[in-house]
């Protein structure tokens, strides 16, 4: 019996449903940790990253 036949007889339609639940659980835990385990300051600091243009120490020219 070929592997694909064996696999074909398993009830794989259950897989995606299980995966759906797992994915939602992982996603929910990510969101939970994000809100419970990170500090306001670090979030604010991270949010300001694009606005930092510090560290310019000189200028040079190119064609």
């Amino acid at each position: 019996m070929r592997l694909s036949e064996i696999m074909g007889r398993l009830d794989l339609a259950f897989w995606p449903q299980a995966a759906l639940v797992i994915f939602l659980a992982v996603f929910a835990s990510v969101v939970w940790r994000l809100y419970a385990r990170t500090s306001r300051e670090e979030m604010e600091r991270a949010g300001r990253l694009p606005l930092e243009e510090e560290g310019v120490v000189g200028r040079t020219g190119t064609k």
Partner: protein
């Protein structure tokens, strides 16, 4: 490798004024950003934006006025529509995200790009790919799968340029970055790069004809044979892969990188940080975890198994919330700055662009609800939906970014703010005209298809009636599209004039930042990282340590990337494997047999001409569809279809039960000029197929390829056998056509193969199980000799259906 790059930076900036010395004792490095590569990508974005939208306007005109293609096959709708979509997605949007990524990544990582050479290779490689797309698609060289039309040699080049040049350069840059925290925009870029790679590779797995000829047929490939391939998947599975790809290409090519763009450039333009950084992280993970599942919503009511499409629907609806979270996050970034929006066209572009994101991501989940989808699918509603996204979201975000960049890149004030403002208004009106007209067209046509009169018959049995009704809307679309094009021209002029005012030499800012220590890949002890940092940062860092989330993921590009890949791959596998393996998903139908060699090459012509851009081959189990077209389509009917040709838009009628509906002669005359048969038809003329010779010699290779992919071809794979069978069937059909009062001497023309295929489509299911052995020599079409003439529009055919 990272040290050498850092050293290069130091060398490169060695010429600057020495009075600004290093801070004593610190490992401070100096670097300049590569803005030239950004200038190049911005220029390419503008050029391809113009090309893509012009191509769009042109095919828009063709739908309103079919003669616009001048009867030239290279310009016909089926061949140019892929050119338009590929140019819009990969050339316009692609170059735009590259410009955004190259500009923002360097700044967010406080480093020059990892390798200038890779940057250049990426740029020129990508432009070469676009040009090769423009040189192949009009010649009918296509894989026949939407947004994945480019043939295998170009696909290989895409993989090399995308991952080998762009990916390596990007991840190299992350590796040499001087800012520990990876800002959320970078996450979106990471997800883009890895996911697009996965999608591209797996959807494009195919068997090239040239390979088959070299290893099996023993015949040196000639000319176009080098550029032909078939997907390894067939039928339902091919459809599933295609829309897993197609949907996620929207997610990871047109959404995530543009969100990265939004999260970087909107705060820049508004001069305030993003409203909620946390929300942006939620936004990110929701896209990675959820979007990847939503693909099957493109295949509601098709032969796709029900569980798969329901799953697609659930996930699509779930997507609505995070997407709106993202939109609100973008708009709220302007809190306290709304007065600026009234005076700053750049912010206007961003605000309207993000609003279109919100509209599209609201509408998308709505369209994925089965009952809505039953009306919207195959109509212009989908076209309106994607143009809201492409013109509004992708387009306006790109324009906003370009206008913000122009003065900075060319180091001169923008030539005309007024012109920029005019561009904004002209383009907005253009989008509104386009979208409103095409929504109306879509809903009108959807309702006409399902309308029954009091006696229980289709109210519009003649399909073409439902098309002609749309022509006025198509003209409005042309006007809207033209306005959008005019806007791009204005932007080009503005850019050109700004460029003219550039300084003789560009000033480059030299930046300075401490290098990150290198051991973080191995999981460094947190305390050791901050030797070079100031106190405030140390304080911040110790808090930072509490954040498991950050420590593990954000700072470590490698692990972060692995997680994204794991999420995407797991979701995809859980989704895809059952489709391939559950036997009950594709019940075999004993009477469904492989195409004859002649029909097979005819099918390749069908694919090459891009008939799928106007014709579906998928009758949904809806009452009005079975009445109009006949028995609904079954999964088992497509097991030999490499690639599947279900289509996504019906500009012409469904062809899934076309076989035997008309006479051979009817098809020939219809293809020669559809308007000879049906005065109001929008279908292009295919007269060239009546004169061009069919290349019989290539048929053996085609049959061998199918056999290698598992199609049971039996004797037809014997050397020369397939060619013999094809010639015989071609002569028989040619004789039939003459008997039916048609043209003589068609036996060696392309049209014969195409018509043979058309007469076969959807007929097997009504045959007895033992009929039609593999590759029969006689025309496999019953009852085709009797022309079924009917009243308007050539309607007729089986009792159950009318058109």
């Amino acid at each position: 490798m990272s040290t050498s790059a850092a050293r290069t930076d130091v060398v490169r900036t060695a010429a600057i004024e020495p009075q600004l010395g290093r801070r004593p004792g610190s490992v401070v490095e100096r670097f300049v950003y590569d803005d030239q590569i950004v200038r190049m990508f911005v220029l390419a974005t503008m050029i391809w934006g113009l090309v893509a939208t012009l191509a769009g306007v042109f095919i828009g005109v063709e739908l309103a006025f079919p003669k616009a293609n001048l009867g030239l096959e290279w310009f016909s709708f089926g061949r140019l529509r892929p050119l338009h979509t590929n140019a819009a997605i990969f050339a316009f949007a692609g170059n735009s995200i590259f410009a955004a990524i190259y500009y923002s990544t360097q700044r967010l990582c406080k480093t020059r790009m990892y390798s200038d050479v890779l940057s250049r290779l990426h740029f020129w490689g990508w432009q070469a790919i676009i040009v090769s797309a423009a040189l192949t698609l009009p010649f009918g060289i296509t894989q026949g799968k939407e947004y994945a039309e480019l043939e295998w040699p170009i696909d290989l080049a895409i993989a090399v340029v995308w991952l080998g040049f762009f990916g390596v350069n990007f991840f190299g840059t992350l590796a040499v970055r001087r800012e520990r925290h990876m800002y959320v925009a970078l996450w979106f870029y990471i997800a883009t790069i890895v996911t697009v790679t996965i999608l591209h590779v797996f959807n494009n797995l195919s068997l090239p004809l040239a390979v088959v000829e070299l290893v099996k047929t023993g015949h040196w490939p000639r000319g176009e044979e080098w550029m032909k391939s078939w997907p390894v998947y067939a039928g339902v599975q091919d459809a599933f892969m295609q829309w897993w790809y197609g949907h996620n290409a929207v997610a990871f090519f047109l959404t995530t990188p543009f969100l990265g763009l939004m999260y970087y450039f909107m705060p820049k333009a508004a001069e305030r940080p993003v409203y909620s950084y946390r929300l942006s992280i939620v936004h990110f993970w929701s896209l990675v975890f959820i979007y990847i599942w939503a693909g099957p919503h493109h295949l509601h009511y098709t032969a796709l198994p029900g569980w798969a499409s329901s799953l697609g629907m659930v996930f699509s609806v779930m997507l609505w919330m995070p997407s709106w979270g993202g939109m609100i996050n973008g708009l709220m970034t302007l809190r306290g700055a709304w007065h600026k929006v009234t005076s700053d066209p750049i912010l206007k572009f961003f605000v309207v662009g993000v609003t279109f994101y919100g509209m599209s991501t609201f509408e998308g989940p709505m369209l994925s609800v089965k009952s809505v989808n039953s009306l919207s699918h195959y109509t212009d509603w989908t076209i309106a939906h994607v143009h809201g996204g492409a013109l509004g979201w992708n387009g306006f975000l790109s324009f906003g970014m370009i206008y913000w960049l122009l003065p900075r890149l060319f180091q001169a004030p923008l030539y005309s703010k007024r012109l920029m403002s005019t561009h904004f208004y002209v383009a907005t009106v253009g989008i509104l005209l386009y979208v409103l007209a095409i929504y109306t067209a879509g809903i009108t046509q959807g309702l006409m298809w399902r309308a029954f009169d009091e006696s229980g018959r289709l109210q519009y049995p003649d399909f073409v009636e439902t098309v002609v009704r749309l022509v006025p809307f198509y003209w409005i679309r042309v006007v809207g599209g033209l306005l959008y094009v005019v806007g791009i021209v204005m932007m080009g002029y503005n850019a050109f004039m700004t460029w003219r005012a550039r300084p003789e030499t560009y000033v480059e800012e030299v930046h300075e930042a401490p290098a990150l220590e290198r051991e973080y890949d191995d999981g460094p002890l947190p305390e050791t990282r901050l030797t070079a940092n100031i106190d405030a940062a140390k304080q911040w860092d110790s808090k930072y340590l509490q954040g498991w989330f950050h420590r593990v993921w954000e700072r470590k590009p490698l692990k972060f990337t692995v997680w994204v890949v794991a999420a995407v791959a797991t979701a995809s596998l859980f989704e895809i494997i059952p489709t391939f393996l559950i036997r009950s998903n594709v019940p075999t139908i004993a009477s469904v047999k492989p195409y004859t060699p002649l029909e097979l090459v005819g099918r390749d012509i069908y694919v090459g001409e891009g008939c799928y851009n106007c014709h579906s081959q998928m009758i949904r189990p809806l009452w009005h569809e079975t009445v109009r077209y006949g028995e609904y389509s079954k999964p088992g009917e497509f097991v030999y279809d490499h690639p599947f040709q279900w289509g996504s838009r019906r500009i012409g009628p469904d062809l899934a039960r076309e076989g035997g509906r008309q006479s051979f002669d009817w098809h020939v005359r219809h293809l020669e000029n559809p308007r000879n048969i049906n005065g109001q038809s929008l279908m292009p003329t295919y007269a060239h197929l009546l004169t061009e010779k069919l290349d019989f010699e290539s048929i053996q290779g085609r049959v061998d390829a199918m056999a290698m992919l598992g199609v049971p071809y039996g004797d037809a794979v014997k050397p020369g056998e397939a060619v013999k069978m094809a010639r015989k069937q071609a002569m028989e059909i040619a004789d039939t056509i003459v008997k039916q009062g048609g043209y003589a001497d068609l036996g060696d023309k392309k049209v014969i193969a195409l018509v043979a295929y058309l007469q076969r489509i959807g007929t097997d299911i009504s045959k007895p199980a033992d009929a039609a052995p593999a590759a029969p020599a006689a025309p496999a079409t019953p009852a085709a000799e009797e022309p079924k003439k009917a009243e308007a529009g050539g309607a007729g055919g089986s009792v159950a259906s009318t058109r």
